[in-house]
Amino acid sequence: MTVKHRKLHRYIWFAFAFLLPLGWLAAIWVIPETIWQTPVHLGQPPQLTNLLQSKESGDFVINLRQDSTEQLKQIEIFIKKPQVNPSTVVILETIDSIKGNKEQLLGMLGSRGVWRFNLDSLTINHPDFKVRLEDNIQHLTLRSITFKH
């Protein structure tokens, strides 16, 4: 190495001897107490009392429930086996041969557990509908289950 290069090396490493430990310590200093990755689960609505219909498809059990006053309806999904898809979207599609089908996003499923989604009044009064489970990252329809009145 030329004398100039040796000097350059020396300056770089004398600077690094100060800067790198500073970066290392700063990174340790800011380590969060809670892990950023911890999934945040929104509170789920309580299970409605009456089971109207139950369908099973693959690793999923999908229940249609209703409360005792018959004013509220609910879709309840059991995931029997942990899923590999990181995010599964639940879409409800009302079937109407005259006005055309309508889609409504109910929410997302995690990889395991029980998930409940209350239905709005329009859907409640609609006789037939489909529940579709989709992997919206890979654009795949995982399941499509039809409920008929």
Partner: protein
């Protein structure tokens, strides 16, 4: 040394070194992957590949960074220097697998362009804890790519050693980026004291050997300037009436070991003064290949041999023995009793100069 551009100039030593390197890589990957499967039974193949290649490449980079200063501190490490480029290119390929799998796993499974996703999915540039660490890794990989792509002697020759050396200083920036890539990435998520300790140990090792080698070299550079801080060169000359004009005192004959050299910096000239077969010859200290320090090499088979990659020069004329064509500058040397005098005005590269005879 080679008179042609071989893709790889294989030697028995190089083959052995590469086999050892490959064995190390395979054993590391197998052990690491096995441990991951045992410790985390639900781990996916992609995650194993990302972790195994990431840790291996980072470990290899630490070793690569330590080789240079270790060689300056202890010549027994020199065989590692001869083949450091293979080590570096292997490290880059492993880092590339890590980068490719990471981009695939985290950014390629949507309808967004993976690179747009890489730079757009996290824009917390104002936060240390949530800094987009993946972009640091990406830029480090780009630097390593440039270095691996220009590692061949073809580029060394065409870019010239000073430019090539400056370009390859980029590895230090890559190391700094990767250190922060790890510290702001996996450390923020895993929070493992063992990992933090290992990374700290690696960092302090790399810094220590570099600072130590640089300090030692600084002392050597000072010692190579015989009277810089004591008396002026002209007054030294005037002390000796029998020394021709232009010559300056260099050192005592006894200061140079047989078949070895003393480095001198006189009037800005970096000179290697060799003693061999009761003779003294001086050549420019920088090897034509990678500007290696010829003064740290020795005379083998009658040739000055560069300690870095074994390039050779004849001490009397600074020329590589045929069929090689490399040449370095030569200088006039004079011996007066036990004292050695040297004219720091260089002769054109490859000019034959009679060696000074000791004891006449």
């Amino acid at each position: 040394m080679s008179v042609i551009y071989d893709p790889i100039h294989w030697t028995a030593h190089k083959r052995l070194y590469d086999w050892l390197l490959l064995t190390f890589v395979v054993i590391y990957l197998a052990l690491f992957s096995g441990l991951q499967v045992l410790l985390f039974p639900q781990i996916t193949l992609e995650t194993i590949v990302i972790r195994a290649t990431g840790t291996l490449a980072f470990l290899m980079l630490h070793i690569i960074l330590c080789i240079g200063p270790l060689c300056r501190l202890d010549k027994r490490f020199l065989p590692m220097l001869y083949n450091r480029r293979h080590f570096g290119v292997t490290m880059f390929l492993i880092a590339l697998v890590h980068g490719a799998f990471s981009i695939f796993q985290f950014h390629a499974l949507s309808n967004t362009d993976p690179l747009v996703s890489l730079f757009g999915s996290n824009t917390h540039f104002d936060s240390i804890a949530r800094f987009p660490f993946q972009s640091l890794g990406f830029f480090a990989l780009m630097i390593l790519f440039v270095m691996a792509a220009t590692s061949h002697d073809f580029w060394l020759k065409n870019l010239t050693p000073p430019v090539w050396k400056t370009l390859h200083l980029g590895v230090y920036l890559a190391y700094a980026l990767l250190l922060m890539h790890v510290m702001l990435g996996v450390i923020q998520l895993e929070q493992s004291p063992v990992l933090i300790g290992l990374i700290g140990f690696g960092m302090f090792t790399v810094i220590s050997v570099h600072v130590l080698a640089a300090s030692r070299q600084m002392k050597k550079d000072r010692a190579a300037q015989p009277y810089k801080n004591e008396v002026g060169i002209s007054s030294i000359q005037s002390l000796k009436y029998n020394v021709p004009a232009g010559f300056v005192y260099a050192c005592e004959v006894s200061e140079i070991p047989e078949n070895r050299a003393k480095m001198l910096i006189i009037q800005g000239e970096n000179i290697a003064l060799f003693k061999y077969e009761n003779k003294l010859s001086a050549v420019h200290n920088l090897c034509k290949h990678q500007n290696g320090p010829l003064s740290e090499g020795k005379i083998i088979d009658g040739c000055i041999t560069c300690p870095w990659h074994g390039y050779q020069y004849l001490p009397e004329n600074g020329q590589s023995p045929p069929p090689f064509t490399e040449k370095v500058c030569t200088y006039d040397v004079l011996v007066d009793g036990t004292q050695v005098y040297l004219n720091p005005k260089p002769y054109p590269e490859g000019t034959a100069r009679p060696p000074a005879l000791i004891g006449l």
